[in-house]
């Protein structure tokens, strides 16, 4: 992985090709379940046997993390929560946490956003109000409290700049110029801006240059940030792409039931990850 090129976006064949680009040991910034998760690439990472990944939840993690943890791909998570939402606890995360086999750095949502925003600006840290007195501050290795230099006796918390190796998410569209459209999901732009490399799967290709379109441009992340894209129709399934398809709640409930046991989880992988490439 070279450091921060002004990317010339590469166009890859499929989700498996994207997964091959993400090295073992990488720190991957990931969005929450309602924000365009690249599930097809996550399944491809499991198929290629990815190892020692560090997952950064921006700001929380869900199904993708639970699958990667259960499949033994993950060494560490930093996140504000891991949850399957309405489907309940994330069973493989919970089991690994309770068995002590997973390193967990607990955070709180805006501290993760703030750490990434510091990186966006190229500054080493950024302050955030609140949080002081939470045990999170005691345990987090990168948070420091300072006195506000502009006022006396005003302690304030600093988030160290967070630099993920990889940003990974799904887009509704990519275009010929390597721009991707994610609509209102602003956290995806933040992850893309702050990461050394950015891999994006997409639903559909749009001919031309979306940045030239005044209506599409505000929902775009410009190709300068995008390392490579690949097509993955229904690539967020069983999660959703707002405006295209919704979250498959029945599948999530099915997963939550099966993944309660290690054996059930293996069954799930066999059926939905190893056997089937796309739904």
């Amino acid at each position: 992985m070279s450091a921060l090129p002004s990317n010339e976006t590469r166009f890859l064949a499929d989700a498996d090709a994207l997964a091959r680009e993400i090295p073992d040991g990488a720190c991957i910034g990931l969005p929450p379940d309602n924000s365009l998760v690249a599930m097809a690439v996550v399944r491809a990472l499991v198929r290629r046997g990815a190892k020692d990944l560090k997952l950064l939840g921006v700001p929380v993690l869900g199904l993708c993390a639970d699958i990667l943890i259960g499949a033994g791909c993950v060494r560490e998570v930093e996140t504000s929560a891991v949850t399957l939402g309405e489907a309940g606890l994330a069973p493989r995360f919970t089991a690994a946490a309770e068995a002590g086999t997973l390193k967990i750095v607990d955070a709180t949502c805006p501290m993760i956003h703030t750490g990434l925003q510091a990186t966006e600006k190229g500054v080493p840290f950024m302050p955030l109000r609140g949080v002081l007195g939470s045990d999170l501050v005691k345990h987090h290795p990168d948070w420091k409290t300072i006195d506000n230099p502009y006022a006396k006796g005003d302690p304030i918390l600093l988030a160290k700049a967070i630099v993920p190796d990889v940003a990974l998410f799904h887009a509704r569209w990519a275009d010929d110029c390597g721009n991707v459209w994610v609509g209102r999901r602003g956290e995806l732009a933040t992850i893309a801006h702050a990461s050394k490399a950015c891999y994006v799967s997409y639903e559909e290709m749009k001919p031309g240059d979306m940045i030239e379109d005044e209506l599409l441009a505000p929902g775009c992340i410009g190709s300068v940030y995008i390392t490579a894209v690949a097509p993955a129709p229904r690539g967020a399934w069983p999660l959703g792409v707002p405006g295209a398809y919704g979250i498959d709640d029945a599948h999530l409930a099915h997963y939550a039931r099966l993944a309660k046991t290690a054996e059930g989880f293996r069954k799930y992988l066999d059926e939905f990850v190893f056997k089937t490439v796309a739904a």
Partner: protein
């Protein structure tokens, strides 16, 4: 008139929200959402930001916008729960008795930034309401000198309503719900709290409140919390 426990809790939430202008409702909180939408029936100007809203979500800048809004003081009321809640209003969303929970979400920030936080946990037991939480996700109070806009206002459970007394750093038992009693609440609460000699019963929903809950409010809730809505209002 008969009513469901969830309806009583939602009506109580609506009263606690009071004259707020902007309520934000976080992850998996159907009862707080129901209370907020009930209040909106009476006060159409009330702004409700449902973080979980699947389509037409109120935020256009992604999930950090809520925190930026709250940081500026644009969120009047927020809701938090806890795997454990203690008598100093500290909440724990991380771990308890060897069990791992999802995590702290935005609590450590929102508890400071929202003008008023209503603590809500339906389970009322000595296991949840403990003398001291095992892990402080977000503290109930802050020492002098620590900038803090807001904090706890009340704790609502399936058995009772407590008000937070900021100057005493203790809860005050305000009322007990039908089916419970002051003795039952004392026996099932792991922390100490103040209580009047005679504890009143939580006000039951009015006929008008129940009518609103079962028609216009139920419709909105069914869209966003289908499992909850079907269980409460369709008997499924």
């Amino acid at each position: 008139m008969n009513f469901a426990k969830e309806e009583l809790l939602a009506v109580t939430i609506a009263r606690l929200i009071g004259d707020a202008r902007h309520v934000a409702v976080g992850a998996a909180s159907p009862i707080p959402a129901t209370g907020a939408f009930l209040l909106k029936q009476k006060n159409p100007a009330l702004r409700i930001s449902l973080l979980q809203k699947r389509t037409g979500n109120p935020f256009t800048e992604g999930s950090r916008e809520l925190f930026d809004l709250a940081g500026q003081g644009r969120v009047d009321v927020f809701f938090l729960g806890g795997a454990q809640i203690d008598g100093e209003a500290n909440i724990n969303l991380v771990q308890a008795e060897g069990k791992r929970f999802p995590g702290s979400f935005g609590s450590a920030y929102m508890y400071f930034a929202a003008k008023k936080t209503i603590l809500f946990r339906e389970e009322h037991s000595a296991r949840v309401l403990v003398p001291k939480v095992e892990f402080i996700s977000a503290p109930g109070w802050s020492p002098p000198g620590v900038e803090r806009r807001g904090g706890p206002a009340a704790l609502l459970t399936g058995k009772a309503l407590f008000l937070w007394q900021k100057d005493r750093r203790r809860f005050l038992l305000q009322s007990v719900h039908p089916g419970s009693s002051a003795e039952d609440v004392r026996a099932n609460t792991g922390f100490d709290y103040d209580a009047p000699a005679v504890v009143p019963q939580t006000n039951a929903p009015s006929v008008e409140e129940l009518r609103l809950l079962r028609s216009p409010v139920a419709q909105v809730i069914l869209e966003n919390y289908p499992g909850f809505g079907k269980r409460v209002w369709e008997g499924k």
